[in-house]
């Protein structure tokens, strides 16, 4: 087992990893920017190192500074959290060549899955359904372009080859809009991912987003967990997740779970990861992508399964094997998570950094809060706006929703705007209570679009 781990991240996920390390008897090193001296993860770690000025590119994304900090503190592993360098191939490689264990999959696997076109091909070969689309990048010069697009059918999506996480996508309603959409998407892809290649995929109408948490060890054992339903999104960013999904019964769970397992075996995946599917109104599911990291919503699966995923991830990185299988995992109840952000939901979710003058988290049975906020803390404007994850678990979905209503009503955050009022609204929305959830939910039922 590792003696000392450096957490190359900040905020709530850094604290999550520090907690797992502490319980495993591992010493922790926090890194932070100049602007994050008062961030809670710095205080909770055993050691801390300031690695740069406020801007993410000069601190949390600065590979030499992080490796330097790892060198001077003598760590044997780095946990990248999510975001920042978690899926950075170069970072994973530099760790490996520096003799530091990168707690995550190998650089090779990250690279393979980062290419969405290659990922599609691997999935098709593994007998996993993919969304009908092109297996090569499209070109505006291609004489067959309109024919190809027509075969897929409108509306369709233009997607960046190296995109992902809901970024680098454009919806095309009809033939007229196609060329312009491709040109724009190519320009955006070049700017965001340094590669302008895009491909086409059929657009699934009001789909459900269902994903499976996976753990895989070095011996090739792959375990899938009960699904997470992440359909409630805004601009392709998840807001609410729940497990199990109201749209998935035991038979479908097994079918999709086994498909997820096949996917991960096909690419020889190790560590923790997630396989994402879209499901249409008829119950057909399609692979969309793999998230080769521990995700924001890993907490949902931890509560529904009773298994500490971050500790498992660290154990797997240290070479331990999985000694249980998917059938051993029992669904403990129904879980819902609300991602609370420092945003003003009534003004188009504009970020609202600043000083938190009063902070009190909800409690009682079946309530979990993962946060780095404390009373008197000033939220800096340089990083993302997630401030707390609020989860509730109860024996069934209805009880869980009522518990979430209670927990949201108890949560006190003053001095900044948060999305708590937004979630209070959603938790009382009749369509949500009915379980009618899909990715257009927010636009259609809450924001009145």
């Amino acid at each position: 087992m590792f003696k000392k781990v450096l957490i190359a991240n900040r905020g709530e996920i850094a604290i999550r990893v520090i907690r797992a390390c502490r319980e495993l008897g591992i010493r922790t090193v926090a890194v932070h920017s100049d602007a994050d001296r008062d961030c809670l993860h710095v205080r909770l770690a055993d050691e801390s190192v300031c690695i740069g000025p406020a801007s993410a590119s000069e601190s949390y994304l600065n590979i030499p500074s992080i490796i330097s900090a790892a060198g001077i503190t003598g760590v044997d592993a780095i946990h990248p959290g999510y975001g920042f360098l978690a899926e950075n191939i170069q970072f994973a490689e530099v760790c490996e060549s520096s003799g530091i264990k990168f707690i995550g999959p190998s650089a090779e696997v990250i690279s393979k899955m980062g290419d969405k076109i290659q990922a599609r091909k691997i999935m098709e070969k593994a007998g996993v359904p993919v969304i009908p689309g092109t297996d090569e990048p499209v070109s505006l010069e291609d004489v067959h372009l309109f024919k190809i697009a027509k075969k897929i059918g409108y509306p369709l999506m233009v997607k960046a080859r190296l995109g992902g996480g809901g970024k680098g996508m454009r919806l095309v309603q009809d033939e007229e809009a196609l060329k312009n959409a491709i040109a724009t998407a190519q320009a955006e892809a070049k700017a965001s991912f340094a590669n302008p290649e895009v491909y086409l995929e059929k657009n699934i109408e009001a789909p459900c987003h269902i994903e499976f948490q996976i753990l895989a060890d070095l011996k090739g054992n792959v375990v899938y967990f009960p699904e997470r339903d992440c359909s409630i999104q805004r601009r392709h960013q998840k807001l609410i997740e729940e497990s199990p999904s109201p749209q998935v019964n035991a038979k479908l769970r097994k079918k999709m779970g086994e498909a997820a397992r096949r996917v991960m075996k096909a690419i020889k995946y190790t560590s923790a990861g997630t396989v994402e599917f879209l499901m249409d109104q008829k119950g057909h599911f399609y692979f969309i992508e793999i998230n080769p990291r521990v995700q924001v919503e890993h907490t949902v699966t931890e509560m529904v399964s009773g298994i500490d995923l971050v500790k498992e991830q660290i154990r797997l990185a240290a070479g331990e094997e999985l000694d249980y299988d998917s059938d051993d995992i029992k669904i403990q109840g129904h879980v819902i998570e609300c991602r609370i952000t420092a945003e003003d939901w009534e003004r188009d979710f504009i970020p609202s950094p600043g000083k938190v003058t009063n902070f009190a988290i909800p409690g009682g049975p079946g309530v979990r809060v993962d946060t780095h906020i404390y009373s008197g803390y000033t939220i800096p404007p340089f990083y993302d706006s997630l401030i707390a994850k609020l989860l509730t678990i109860d024996k069934d979905r209805e009880s869980c929703i009522h518990r979430m209503q209670r927990a949201l009503d108890e949560f006190i955050i003053e001095g900044i705007k948060t999305t708590i009022p937004f979630y209070q609204k959603v938790m009382r929305n009749e369509h949500f209570l009915e379980g009618e959830i899909h990715t257009n939910f927010i636009q259609r039922y809450v924001l009145g679009g």
């Binding site: 100049d34 190192v49 300031c50 690695i51 740069g52 000025p53 601190s59 030499p64 500074s65 490796i67 330097s68 900090a69 060198g71 001077i72 503190t73 520096s98």
Partner: protein, 155 residues
């Protein structure tokens, strides 16, 4: 700032001829001024000759003790390998002068002074790890000023 740090400052000043030390870091400020009757006599002297043109009266120097900070996280070195130290305590330095080297992942980054003055203390031992922004050198800066009434009002 706690009492221990205040005591450290006092100890630091005791062994030198520093008359004033002004410290500011992230909103915390503290100032020390040595009480001495000899110094009072010197302060009064320039005012007695009003015919002297202002540019000639540079008899009092305002000294501030500031720090040179590390530009990077890494290992602090007083010199490149097998070379003598770039600077010593007591040396006078100028802006742009190389005073140390920080090493990270086999890359050597120069630490360059942004201050004009005398190195009072080197705060870090050779070959020890430093954070970004960590104080490396304590420098007594020298900024000549005039002691006529106009300047006093501005200060």
């Amino acid at each position: 700032m706690d009492l221990e740090q205040v005591k450290k400052f006092i100890e630091l000043i005791k062994g030198t001829d520093i008359e004033e030390l002004y410290w500011e870091k992230e909103g915390t400020k503290i100032a020390f001024k040595r009480a001495s009757s000899e110094k009072l006599a010197e302060e009064n002297a320039p005012v007695a000759t009003p015919q002297v043109s202002p540019s000639a009266t540079t008899t009092k120097e305002e000294k501030k003790v500031l720090t040179i900070k590390s530009p990077m996280v890494g290992t602090f070195y007083r010199s490149l390998p097998d070379r003598p130290p770039l600077v010593m305590e007591g040396n006078h330095i100028s802006p742009g002068q190389k005073v140390a080297v920080i090493e990270a992942m086999k890359i050597m980054k120069d630490v360059v002074s942004n201050l004009q003055g005398k190195i009072v203390k080197i705060l870090v031992e050779n070959a020890t790890p430093v954070e970004y922004g960590q104080d490396l050198f304590l420098v007594e800066t020298e900024t000549p000023i005039q002691t006529d009434k106009k300047n006093d009002a501005n200060r």
